[in-house]
């Protein structure tokens, strides 16, 4: 079972790496930052599967940290500028 979960983690990681093409190609800044944030979601899924595969709670904590900080870069980009 745990090796199956490992394979699943790798499959999710592959979709993450493919999605990076959109971060690289853009064309708009919104495309890139949205792709970067949402690939964080994919990273979280990969970490959860991987943690379940090796039976480690630390991976879940790492996923938790990523989840709580996920919106930050996006907010820093979309917030109104001072004086706007």
């Amino acid at each position: 079972m745990s090796s199956l979960l490992g394979v699943a983690a790798f499959a999710v990681l592959l979709t993450l790496l493919l999605g990076l093409v959109r971060v690289l190609r853009g064309p708009q800044a919104a495309d890139r930052i949205a792709a970067a944030q949402l690939l964080g979601t994919t990273g979280i899924a990969a970490l959860l599967l991987w943690g379940a595969a090796v039976g480690s709670a630390t991976h879940t904590d790492l996923a938790l940290t990523l989840a709580v900080l996920a919106p930050f870069a996006t907010i820093a980009m979309v917030r109104k500028e001072p004086g706007e």
């Binding site: 970067a36 944030q37 990273g43 970490l47 904590d61 940290t65 930050f72």
Partner: protein
């Protein structure tokens, strides 16, 4: 093996993308993706403490900092110097190539069993009553390093504040933020309480497992910056006594406990035996709050 190769390929592609990106915003977005992959790679290497730090700093604070810098640059574009000539470019390229080869050679020439003190840390682990060897090193075996690092943060805050104009330098840090409405205002009210709970969790597990004060402080700082960015919680003026005490309390308490150790056991920063764990926890709580306040003030920047 395939997993590692795929990760390394992704990291290299993103690093290259950051370098060749034409717009600052694009480079920052790529750098955020790069940080995510780097955190996964550290996890893959089994260094969960480093992975957590990379996730906390890379996903949260450094993105905010870099985007603010990119925005300031695009508002006032730097004057372009004339592009370097062909000879200069060739020299720069050769220099970078030599440096890359030297670093690569250094990595390849490392001995198979790198020298280290891991065995000694493991042998003395029980003396600190902590379960996480990294926490033992940071708070006990190399406590002086941690003390100096936290003191450096206080100095960095002082330097940043000193960059403010003379008129009203003691006012709130950073530029005043316009008030947000809609989804951002809602998120800025909902997320901080949850984030503070997550930070406390990450702090507490740091005693026995990867995690700890610095990662928790980075999350706390982000939870302070969120309502600030949304304009619903203006930063307190730099002159506020409570803010200054918060920034300085961690290192000050660490030094005080270190002096206590000098009096009781004869060595600076030695933990009195029997009281190691409670004292370490008290100092870590104070350090966490100080580091969080310092990181947030550094991201907000000087008063403009």
């Amino acid at each position: 093996m395939i997993v590692d190769l795929a990760l390394v390929g992704g990291i290299l592609a993103l690093a290259l993308g950051v370098l060749v990106a034409r717009q600052a915003f694009a480079a920052v977005a790529l750098f955020i993706g790069y940080g995510l992959l780097l955190a996964l790679a550290w996890g893959r290497l089994g260094l969960m403490d480093v992975a957590l730090t990379e996730a906390a700093i890379g996903a949260g604070l450094s993105g905010v900092l870099l985007l603010a810098a990119a925005r300031r640059l695009s508002a006032a574009p730097a004057q372009e110097d004339s592009p370097p000539g062909r000879v200069t470019r060739a020299l720069i390229g050769a220099g970078c190539a030599i440096l890359t080869c030297a670093v690569g050679a250094a990595v390849l020439l490392l001995p198979d069993a790198p020298p280290g003190l891991a065995a000694e840390v493991a042998a003395n682990q029980r003396a600190t009553a902590l379960g996480n060897p990294v926490a033992s090193v940071l708070m006990a075996f190399r406590g002086l390093d941690t003390l100096l690092e936290s003191a450096v943060l206080v100095l960095a805050v002082i330097c940043t504040v000193a960059l403010a104009p003379d008129q009203g330098w003691a006012g709130p840090p950073g530029a005043p933020q316009p008030q947000a409405d809609g989804p951002l205002a809602l998120l800025a009210r909902l997320l901080p309480p949850l984030g503070i709970v997550v930070a406390a969790h990450i702090f507490w597990i740091g005693v026995d497992a990867p995690g700890g004060k610095f990662q928790a402080a980075a999350i706390l700082a982000a939870m302070w910056l969120l309502p600030w960015m949304a304009g619903i919680a203006p930063a307190p003026p730099i002159g506020t006594r409570a803010l200054r005490i918060t920034v300085a309390a961690g290192p000050a308490l660490f030094i005080a406990v270190g002096l206590l150790g000098a009096m009781l056991t004869g060595a600076f920063l030695a933990w009195p035996s029997g009281f190691e764990k409670p004292l370490i926890l008290i100092v870590e709580v104070a350090l966490t709050l100080s580091i969080a306040a310092a990181l947030a003030l550094l991201v907000m920047g000087p008063r403009t």
